[in-house]
Subunit: 284 residues, 4 copies
């Protein structure tokens, strides 16, 4: 019998990384199920994700981590060892458009996403009843100029108390403070309803309508303090034409947003996304 | 026996346009093969394209035009009657990337595009031999700061002398003067190698690489004096990932450019594109 | 003030149809908002869909129908006049996979589909609670060899009593009898989880896995007595690769099924689908 | 200074393969540029492709092969070591449709495909002049019931004499004998103009038209003695609708065929395709 783990590594590129890591795992009688790597010729960094099984009479996770720390130090690695059997804990933030929330909730319930939603936060009460129907605690945290810091403080507390792995802004129409963005860097995914970098900011579908584009898009990205500038994880588009009024673009866009966000969330919780400066490496 | 025609109309929207035009055609014993229309709620303009057959013992084209002019005046129509059996005449302008040129030449030769290429113009000599292989006159018109106006003058003369219907900028790396753009408005199509309005200007693939996008695109648009701002006719995208270096994006982009441009050219020569301010109506 | 209607027509092709219908509408002071047509050169039939507004001081619907009946008889038309402001009534049949059900319910609730679901029927109890959460009556109608006719009779009664416009088989894993199919011809849409005509019958994802295809698909079609042979309304595909095990194909397929089915349902309830023998005309 | 190589491996799956191979390469001072692997849980086989650089003062290719043969024997590996700097030699077979031929020739000439075409074979003379324009020897080998074996013999001789790496059936409308298929197994790619397994055999676009599908496709696959049943390498689709007559499907299909075939050819000559029984592993 064996248990699955995921090891992710980011380090300066040089000869022997794969040999060292794969030999280390073989010596510990771990069997590689799946592995992907990328050497960035530009940044000279190397990225590795290994999905492997450790036998139940193997060293065990703490010992494996202790042993690997030595290897990691040699290569100046940033690394993470994750129990692949664990279920990710997602906090969803939403305002008044519920399609992405509904989509994620359903995927969690059917197992399409290996995740649970311990809490939903909203600055509006629209989805309180839906949250209750799904037995998910709903935190109504209205926001004003005065209470912004306090409101974010309460969100941060939920993140800590609920051991949240990932915060999803499922059409959350509030800008997070630079402090919040920095504190939870690489753990907050936003869905922007345009094909970035086109149509940053507000009302992208109206901007798209005004420009007369023939495809509309959506972009899932990590949140940084620079609005709509964070590392892109996933993008999707759909064809439109001259007959689509702004409302029609919004309707078409809903499906595109749900798909792009759902894929980005899955990539993140399966630890397929590694940060590479202002970009991402995504091992599909 | 009958001959096919296309009638395109753009006019202020009001009740009775379709009734009037279709009754006019029926009275002249013309049979509608295909028809498409669009009423723009924003600009309050109405757009109509009718593909019909006139019997060979019917009024004939000059008489049909004379008769229709009366109808058109009543509705304040901009209109065009085109012999659908005629072959479009395309002038291709190219610099040093030949994939779009090759693609269009091949489509013309196989009949995928109902068009001929009476001339190719280039500011470089790279494709002289290929033009000769295809028996197409090749005009080598190098360009410098001093001779820009003269060079454009020679292009304009080719357009007039060769009765060119459409000028295609098949990766022509020169900016046309406002005068040239105005003179041939709605008759010059450019392929921009990005998903506009993202990555305007030079080196869009390098911009896309720097931003870390997950899809790259191409945009075929009418040329106006505002670079990369002209009415969009067609767009296409392709998926890329972190492993694509700028050169790889260029390679993937070639296919996307060819497809977007070929479709835009076909839409234009089949008179499926009507200008609607800074946007297009495209009846696919 | 005016009210919107949709007129759909299918008849033998001949000169003057559009002229007659559009003149008829103009005389009744009806304004055409949108119109689409298709003349099938093979079957020699003509298909027309007109979206128009009738002024509130116009003839009214019954009188318009009475007047148009005369026109229709002349051209041997099959036709339908629909109040475009009305909300479609959908009966959903489901077995044990709920993703399409959830998707349709959500689209109805948000108005993405202009429809309500007056009832859900299932041969299993899995989605009873979800139906209750959405305040939709749930009919648990288990099925066996013995009670098949009776069970279908109860479904038919629900269709009649609830004035159902459209029956959606949202992964309903039962074969309907030829009598049921004939009785509700053109009003029952099924989603088949393959790119028909590939992989008819059971376990299409396992068939797709065995064949090693690089794209998987889903097909929404009208139900006929010949399983998986009904007129196709919409198809969608998604890319997969060698690493996708059958379960992965099922997961990818869910999104594809939801999208293809949702579009087909929208096309149907917006009266964009006209039957053309064993095929469909879909005015997008 | 260093030279690039590609090592492909297929063997029974077990612990330690990656460790052994990557350690072997590190010991020989070879630097891994790119690596991809797949363990098939069904067939219990393991597939590996490693793109690496060997330093110019390293062991050299013959010595590396000699050394690796020992490793390979231990793991019962099928393997190949390829000089990644070499240019693939492609023989194109074509009948009367030239779009795929033109597409491949252009990609070879621009370097989009790292390949040359030392010969074109056809059972028709249509493309003789085009071949001459590109300075490619053209072999006109007409075929009849009587001379089929002899004609294939001449093709086989060209393959041997020209050291052909890959034979591409670019719409070659002849069925190859089982003997020929067996002799060049895994080295002959065909483009079938449908989304296999739909519409096998002749006239797939007419079959697609008759069935009323909403997407048409193309499939690039290795040729086996069972027509249209060979391992699929790549598939592509395009959207069509009710207005597409068979000729329109053919026209749309041309682009789809070119794209699917070009990608399959690139994957093959970059040694990204490994055979896995009746399926393929494609490391994109």
């Amino acid at each position: 019998m064996a248990s699955p783990y995921i090891l992710t590594i980011s380090c300066p590129d040089r000869i022997g990384i794969v040999a060292t890591v794969s030999t280390f795992l073989a010596v510990q009688r771990c069997n590689i199920l799946d592995s992907a790597q990328f050497g960035d010729r530009e940044s000279k960094r190397f990225f590795l994700r290994i999905h492997f099984e450790m036998p139940d009479d193997g060293p065990g996770r703490p010992e494996l981590e202790r042993l690997f720390a030595g290897v990691a130090a040699t290569f100046d690695m940033e690394w993470q060892l994750i129990d692949a059997g664990s279920t990710a804990r997602i906090l969803v933030l939403v305002s008044r458009f519920g399609h992405c929330l509904n989509d994620i909730m359903f995927r969690c319930e059917t197992g399409a996403l290996n995740a649970t939603i311990p809490a939903i936060v909203s600055n509006h009460q629209d989805f309180q009843r839906i949250a209750e129907m799904h037995d998910i605690p709903f935190h109504y945290l209205p926001i004003s100029k005065e209470n912004k810091a306090e409101q974010e403080g309460r969100i941060a507390r939920i993140i800590e108390e609920q051991s949240i792995d990932l915060v999803v802004l499922a059409r959350y129409m509030q800008i997070l403070s630079p402090e919040f963005c920095a504190r939870f860097k690489g753990r907050v995914i936003n869905i922007h309803h345009s094909f970035l970098p086109s149509f940053k900011g507000a009302s992208p579908y109206h901007q798209a309508f005004a420009r007369g584009v023939k495809l509309i898009g959506a972009t899932a990205h990590y949140v940084t303090e620079n609005l709509d500038e964070g590392p892109i994880i996933e993008q999707e588009v759909a064809r439109v034409d001259h007959s689509h009024m702004p409302d029609d673009l919004v309707a078409v866009g809903r499906d595109v947003e749900c798909l792009a966000l759902a894929r980005a969330v899955r990539f993140h919780i399966e630890h397929r996304v590694l940060l590479n400066g202002s970009k991402t490496v995504v091992f599909r």
